[in-house]
């Protein structure tokens, strides 16, 4: 599938490749740099990365798809990660998860129709003393109940 990659994005990607090509074990740091910058790892960039780091396109593809963190398509404006691991389950994360899915009208790995929020599962955020936990972008929340998540989502939506 071809996404529309702008010339600016291509230039940015090329600059990251140049900056990383002599770094030992460069591929993960490079993928992070690209995703931090333009929000995802465009498939059109695989050949560029492969060439820059002397890898095969298949190797690049294999790495991108192995790691849950990397996405090959743009996410919504905000990424909401909901913890599904044991400690949060012990404090009702299943109910919270169902509530979030129903108010957003989406399942995990999907983005709301208005493009505001992408929903992802996560397995522990290190906030287990105050479960259940969610992370929105880089903002961590603890002891989240349905009222608190409504506020968090509303705040995200209004801060476009």
């Amino acid at each position: 599938m071809v996404t529309t990659l702008t010339a600016v994005d291509l230039e940015k990607i090329q600059a990251h490749i140049t900056a990383h090509k002599d770094v030992p074990g460069a591929l993960l740091p490079l993928l992070h740099a690209i995703q931090d910058d333009i929000g995802y790892i465009p498939e059109e960039a695989y050949p560029l990365m492969a060439k820059g780091l002397a890898l095969s396109v298949a190797e690049v593809h294999g790495v991108v798809t192995f790691y849950h963190h990397f996405r090959t398509h743009p996410a919504g404006k905000h990424v909401l990660q909901v913890c599904r691991a044991e400690s949060c389950q012990a404090m009702g994360s299943e109910k919270l998860e169902a509530h979030i899915k129903s108010i957003l009208g989406i399942d995990f790995h999907q983005t709301t129709a208005d493009g505001a929020i992408t929903l992802e599962p996560v397995y522990c955020l290190g906030n287990c003393a105050c479960s259940p936990a969610v992370l929105i972008d880089e903002e961590l929340y603890g002891r989240v109940d349905s009222q608190k998540i409504d506020e968090i989502i509303q705040e995200a939506r209004s801060s476009s």
């Binding site: 993928l31 780091l53 963190h69 996560v122 961590l140 603890g142």
Partner: protein, 516 residues
């Protein structure tokens, strides 16, 4: 000037510490009072965050939990001079929850400003490295061995013996890799060290490098910890500027360089060989062992791979001596363990204790029972690959060997409590589901077995060919236990079988069928 402390630890932030800090600054300004606001680490009493402290002549006085709406009332009550207020908990050091602990690895956590090198130095920081720089590599390794320190990542392998293998391995280039992937649910002690006392980890890694002749270190940090990433990068930068890292560590002529590498959300990459593959820029497929990473590790070179807590415990051992550390603990579990109370628990937080305390003391004396007030029915210790323990096992002392005896794992010291609303068959199904999501796919028992496990659990809960499927479940667990390449597939049977054996009624078994 009066110092007011508001933690910057992630958990404190997750409960609004930034807003509390802002409100305190604004209120002080409004009233024309000058204060110095310090963003310290967390004391680890997480149920009381945001945990605010005020410096007084008698010591630090705690007010907690403080929300923005409480702030003006606190000023009215003259909290800056420890005034009486419902949130006033008295002197922090006198709080029983802290006083009963033995904080060695966490000695500074919550007390200091994590990003201040001056603060670190003023609280015994870098004393261990200074001692180490006067010793031979072999003597440093011997000190670590004599302390009895065992790997705190979970496998409990003696750290000194691992270092000795790397010391003895031939190689122009050696590495020190810190495993900061902390994937286990119910654990956060690595995160706390990195956010709340990062210099102790930097110091520990530097000592490791000096000991075995490794000049490059990497911290492999899980991507779910954005705050830790910022703190580590900031403090590593400061350590370079001050000469604690670089080509000439403290003028010793020895080099040690350090860099943080971000992981990318794969639990299996916490397994050391998968981690090394990932650091090399590859998919995190588990490697066959041998060769051990100590002999052929990162880029094929001799490599120390250690957990955050293992490395962060090295400075105090080099500062106070092997015997000082070894004097704590029981049996072959020497020293202290930072225990993390999590899940359905009233008073969740970090408790560092010498090995030997019982689970019951942790759950009730420290934890205060469940958060919901209902009986605690099951406890999972040691992360998603750890066994579920019933009430009858709550008197087991926290000790690696004692846990092995009851077919359980102490692991990284995470304790997750569940009240009596838990459905243990569901938890067993989840263990398989998690294994299926996170399997690296290299071996069949794990890759296929985990998915089969989910199916079998569904049949059991729907009552299909019940007795037969219980047997299938046991056989499958046996295959995974014995036939998996790494502990992801190999230990998933721990939560599953312990749930079945201790909570058989949730699997539709009658009391008599339960004991297998």
């Amino acid at each position: 000037m009066i110092k007011v402390y508001v933690p910057r630890d992630s958990t404190a932030l997750s409960l609004g510490a930034d807003r509390t800090a802002k409100a305190i600054i604004a209120e002080a300004q409004k009233r024309g009072i000058e204060i110095e606001l310090v963003r310290n680490g967390s004391r680890g009493l997480f149920w009381l965050e945001p945990f605010v402290e005020v410096g007084t002549n008698q010591g630090r006085v705690a007010f907690a939990p403080v929300q923005p709406k409480d702030v003006s009332g606190l000023f009215d009550a003259d909290f800056l001079h420890a005034g009486a207020h419902p949130l006033n908990l008295g002197l922090t050091e006198e709080l029983a929850w802290l006083k009963k602990q033995q904080r060695l690895t966490f000695a500074r956590v919550g007390i200091t400003d994590p990003v201040s090198l001056e603060d670190y130095l003023a609280h015994d920081g870098y004393k261990g490295l200074h001692n180490a720089l006067k010793m031979s590599g072999a003597d440093i390794v011997k000190t670590v061995t004599d302390s009895g320190l065992r790997g705190r990542g979970g496998a409990a392998f003696p750290t000194g013996i691992k270092w000795n293998t790397v010391l003895g391995a031939k190689g122009e280039q050696k590495y020190v890799v810190c495993n900061a992937d902390e994937g286990d649910s119910g654990t956060y002690s690595d995160r706390m060290i990195m956010e709340d006392d990062p210099f102790v980890l930097i110091e520990g890694m530097t000592i490791a490098g000096i000991a075995v002749g490794a000049t490059q270190g990497y911290i492999y940090l899980r991507s779910e910890y954005p705050h830790a990433l910022k703190v580590l990068n900031e403090t590593i930068g400061k350590a370079y500027v001050a000469g604690y890292l670089g080509d000439d560590v403290c003028g010793s002529g020895k080099a040690f360089h350090l860099e943080v590498r971000r992981a990318a959300g794969a639990y299996v990459c916490g397994e050391e060989t998968s981690l090394l593959e990932s650091l090399e820029g590859k998919r995190g497929l588990v490697r066959f062992k041998p060769p051990l990473p100590a002999i052929e590790g990162l880029f094929g070179k001799p490599t120390i791979v250690n957990n955050v807590i293992s490395l962060a415990t090295v400075p105090i051992i080099l500062d106070k001596g092997a015997q000082y550390y070894a004097d704590y603990g029981m049996g072959r579990s020497r020293g202290t363990l930072p225990i993390q109370l999590a899940g359905n628990i009233k008073q969740g937080g970090l408790v560092e204790l010498a090995f030997g305390a019982t689970l019951r003391e942790l759950l009730y004396d420290f934890g205060g029972g469940s958060a919901t007030g209902k009986p605690i029915r099951a406890v999972q210790v040691g992360g998603p690959l750890g066994a579920y323990l019933p009430e009858s096992q709550f008197d087991t002392p926290l000790d690696y060997e004692e846990f092995t005896k009851i077919w359980a794992v102490l692991g990284h010291g995470g304790i997750v409590a569940f009240d009596d609303s838990v459905d243990m068959a569901k938890m067993a199904r989840y263990a398989f589901e998690f294994c299926a999501i996170e399997s690296c796919g290299k071996c069949t028992p794990c890759r296929i077995g985990s998915t089969r496990g989910v199916e079998v659990m569904d049949k059991i809960t729907s009552g299909k060919e019940h007795a037969n499927n219980i047997q299938v479940l046991r056989d499958l667990s046996d295959t995974m236990l014995n036939g998996s390449l790494c502990a992801l597939g190999g230990m998933t049977p721990y939560p599953v079988m312990s749930a079945l054996n201790h909570f058989g009624e949730d699997f539709g078994l009658k009391q008599t069928e339960t004991a297998a």
